[in-house]
Every structure is written in C-alpha cells, then in structure tokens.
Amino acid sequence: MSLEFCASMRDRGFEMELTVEEGETIAILGPNGAGKSTLLQLIAGLLKPDSGRATLNDRMLFDVMPSGRERWLAPHERGISLLAQDALLFPHLNAIDNVAFGPRSAGASRSDARDRARTWLDRVEATDLAGRKPAQLSGGQAQRVAVARALASEPALLLLDEPMAALDVSVAPAMRRMLRHVLHGRTAIIVTHDVLDAFTLADRVVVLDDGRIVDVGPTRTVLDRPATPFAAELAALNLLVGIPAGGGVLTDSGHRVTTSSTRPAAASARIGVAVRPTDVTVRVREPEAHRTGENVLAGMVTDLELRGDVIRVRSAELAADLHPRTVAELNLEPGMRVWFSFAEEDAIAYPL
C-alpha cells in the first residue's frame, strides 16, 4: 500500500477515494472542473479537506474529522513533489541551484546538494543548462529542469499536473520519453488531457467527473471500453449505451444495434457499444435494404470538424471520420439528415 486517500470538500463538490500502489503510475483524466487539481492540491497539502484521511507509506498525511478534530502534516513534511504545467523555476536561482534546492532544504551540504543536482540534470539530459538562469531557458528546457528538481528531493510520491500542456508540440515527444524513463517504477500521479500520456506513462487510469471518480482501471481497458462519454471522446471512440434486447442492444436513443460480440447478459444490465469513427460510413439517402450484419442509424449532422486529413462528421449520437472528398461529394453540412452505418464486427459490446 503506498497512497491511501479519501477526502471531501463540500464547497467544491469534491468526494473521492483513491489508492495508488507502490511503484505505480496512475493517470487522472477528466474534463475541466472535474476536480483534478483539487485532488493534487489535497494530496500535496496545499489545500485542507473538510473531512477525510490519507496516508502515504503508512505515514499519516491528514486525518480530518467533520467534528473539527484534525491532524495535519505540512506540505514540506510530506515527501510529495508537485510538478505543474509551468516549470515555476525560482527565477533568482540558476538551473543547478534550483535542482539543488530540495536536497539543501533536507539538510544536505552545499557541495553534496550540487552533486546530486548534477546527477539529476544528467538524467533529464540537461547537464549543459546547469549554469543558466530560468529566463535563459526555453519552455521545454525549463520543464526538464523542473522535473529534475522535483525528483532531486527524492519524493515518496510525485504529482504531475499536466506537465506537457504548456509545451510546444515539437518538444512534447522528447519530454514524454524522458518522463517515461524517470517515472518507471516510481509512485506517481499524472493529471493529463492527452490520451497518449495515459498510454505511454500510466499503468492505470482514473476518470473524474464532477468531483467524483466515474471510471477506473488499466489504461487499455478504460480507453478501449469507455464507460463515459468523456473517456470515449478521449479514446476517439463512439460510445452507444443501452440495454440488451433480443440478441442485440437497444440504445437509449431507441436504435437497435447488433454486434458480433454481444454475449447474453442480464436483461437489466447496461451495455456499452464502442465503434471507431473510421469504421462508420455516412449516406444521405436511406438504404432500402440493410445488408446483414450492418447497423444503420439515422441522425442529423450537428458539426463538421477537420481533424488531420479526415473530416469528423458528428451527430448527437455518432461520429464518422470521412475523407474530405466524400464530404464534398455528399455535400454534407450541419442540419442535414443522414444515415450512419457500421458493420457489426466493428462494434464491441461490453457490460458497463
């Protein structure tokens, strides 16, 4: 057991229970305002909950009773480093002194702290930046130094709050590779908007919405079989939700969908059906006869969005990725009535 956390904050509508195993990296996903930053601030000790309890490696972080009795460990006593979106390097210290700050604060001698700082700068491939002031570093370089600084204090738990959100697209991959390297075997929580981060960095994913955990599990499971519209959107999947009906699924919007993988389930159980937008086609006339094994759902185009070299055509329920040529030929525009279709072997059904 590494981190055991349970806390609530009434005015933020926050109520969460979370466990992170020793050496595990978990990714926190969720829309804006879901409580991701609140979670990190509570763990780091920058916020006090109304009530709750948390321990890190059996050390009490806080124990706050609703009655007002509380035990509380100050942030500097927790051994938890927080890496934010902005590097927040101390502007008056050069890179190596920024990294040496943690060891110095823990009581290391000046030379010892510098040695350790140099080791960490090596590990994030920033050795040659040691003597520079933060103002002389690019965003990517500053964030590397910030990672070294966060790790140099040898935290029992590392918190990362969208560490790559403020970086250039061109430097993010190198940063991701470096994080993958340094996070290996380390207890860490990373808040991210990027499904790629979840796949490359995390063992487990926690999806938050409205101050609560709505889905949790191994990254692949959560993103291949999303349980929430948010997770489906992140994983770039269509998610249809319904109940089993006669060997297929009756979706909440009243469509019948068959999938080759539908297994008998309890009649009352809710079922999710995931379909890739690339496997969905769009027609502007209702097909007269359905081919067997094809699902056809009528819908209204709500939105067209250019994504890379395809155009995503959305209705309230489904999205299809089409070649721009196809969109032009069909003369698609918002408000048009269309028929989406996908083969049943392209749809995966799973109990929610």
């Binding site: 100050a74 942030p75 979106q85 927040l88 101390f90 008056h92 700050f101 604060s105 103002a135």
Partner: protein
C-alpha cells in the same frame, strides 16, 4: 527602457500638457528659488559649523537605525498582511498605515503617551531607570513610527504581485516555512524591499513634527537636521538655506536610488513557451 523618440499615438490633449507643466513648475521652482538664496562664498563654513555637523551626523545615524528597525519589524508585518487571513486584518492594515496620513505632531503626542515619563509603558521603563522621551532613542522611535508604513506598503504590494506559487513549490520540495521566506520569498521581493527601505530612510531623514514633540531639540542628542534648519532660520537664515540644500541633495540621491531599485523590480521571469 522607453525610447526617447515616440512614434506611437499618445492622445494626450494639449491642455493637459499645459496643466502638467504648471504643476511640475510648482514643484521645481521653489528648489531653484532656494538655490538663488544660497550664500555660496560661506557655504562650506556654514554647513561645517559644530551644530550643523552634529545635526547632520545625528540625522544620518538615527535615520539609518530607524530604517533598520523598519525592515526588522516591517518585513514580518508585510508577510502577515499579505500571506495570512485573519479576523480584523483590514482594520490592522489601516492602523499600521495610519501614520502615513496622521499629522506628525499627533504621532509625537501618541508616542509621548506611550513612552513618556508617565506614559503607558514609559512608567515601567522608568522604574528600571530607563528614560526614553527626549533622548536619541526617542528620535529613532519617532522616525520609525512615521517611516514604517512606507516599507510595509511597498513590500505587501510586491508580495501580493509575486504570489504564492513559488512558495508552494518550495514547500513541496521539502523547505520549511523559514527556509521558504529566506531563500524564495525575500529574494523575489528584494527590489521592493530595497525601494521600501530607501523611502523609509527618506521619510525618517525628513521627520520633524513627531521628533520635536516626543524627543525635543537638544543639540547632538535630539536635534536632527530638519530641527536645526528650523532653529537656524530664526537666527542665521544663510545657514538654514545651506543646510536645506544639503537635505535636498541627500533626498535627490535617495529618490534616484529608489527609482533604480524600482526599475529592477520583479526579476523578469520568462513565461513558458
């Protein structure tokens, strides 16, 4: 630095420039007028008379001490006002800044009521054989009283501008609160601290009313330069003007230093790319 040639549209109406010019003249003209009254041939001897040197020397010593006191108690006050929340905080801030608007004579009377022979604390000091009123210590206390708000005001603003984000990072890196103040907070607001200290020094140097009321006017003990100038004006106007010029020069230097510190304010932090 702004370039001297300005190519961008300013949009300041002509009449505003005229009023501004009149206002600036109002400030500068008296200084020029004073220069015309200086008795240059005897200037050196006037400012080097025994009483003048004693007053100047006393002023510098007490002002430096008062500035040091302002820093010692002003930094904690600014930190508490900027970084904590408590009941009655707004009232406390107003009270601390009160000497800024209070007539100095009133400040002197208040200090007398506190540290005077029969004052609130003065009586207890008296039993230990310590007399504060009408001593050099009283001069320093009067100067500290009127100069403190300048330091607190300047520093509190800077602390709020800098924000708490760096301090939070430092805490999560394992730094104790004292370490955070020493290694992060104070270095970040150092320019504002310097500017505030310089302003406090200037205010202490010019202090007159509270000093006269609370400390009196004893040559070499409590008669600071402004008091000396006021007294000389009656007996030896030439000496008063010469000493005034000295005070103007010191003030100009102080303002220049404060301005420099202000320019360097906020060690520029590069935003993320």
């Amino acid at each position: 630095m702004a370039s001297r040639t300005n190519h961008s549209y300013a949009g300041v109406p002509g009449w505003i420039v005229i009023v501004a010019t009149i206002g600036a003249t109002f400030v500068v003209l008296p200084l020029v007028a004073m220069l015309t009254r200086v008795n240059w041939s005897e200037f050196a001897s006037l400012i080097s008379s025994e009483s003048s040197v004693a007053a100047l020397w006393l002023s510098l010593r007490t002002s430096v001490t008062a500035t040091a006191l302002c820093v010692i108690v002003g930094v904690p006050i600014a930190l508490v006002l900027a970084r904590t929340k408590f009941w009655g905080q707004k009232v406390l801030r107003s009270l601390v800044l009160l000497p800024l608007v209070l007539p100095p004579v009133v400040g002197g009377i208040a200090l007398l009521a506190t540290f005077g022979r029969r004052g609130l604390l003065g009586q207890s000091f008296e039993t230990f054989g310590v007399t504060i009123a009408f001593s050099s210590v009283a001069v320093v206390l009067a100067q500290t009283f009127v100069a403190l708000p300048f330091l607190v005001l300047s520093l509190e603003g800077a602390l709020r501008t800098v924000g708490t984000r760096y301090e939070e990072v430092a805490a999560t890196l394992g730094a104790r609160p004292t370490t955070v103040v020493r290694r992060i907070t104070l270095p970040l607001v150092l320019p504002a601290l310097l500017a505030g200290a310089v302003l406090s020094f200037a205010r202490a140097l010019g202090e007159f009313g509270a000093t006269l009321t609370f400390a009196g006017s004893l040559q070499g003990v409590t008669r600071t330069l402004p008091l000396e100038i006021y007294l000389q004006r009656e007996t030896d106007p030439d000496a008063a003007v010469a000493l005034s010029l000295v005070l103007v020069l010191v003030s100009v230097i102080v303002v220049a230093v404060a301005h420099q510190a202000g320019e360097a304010n906020g060690i520029r932090q590069r935003g993320t790319a």
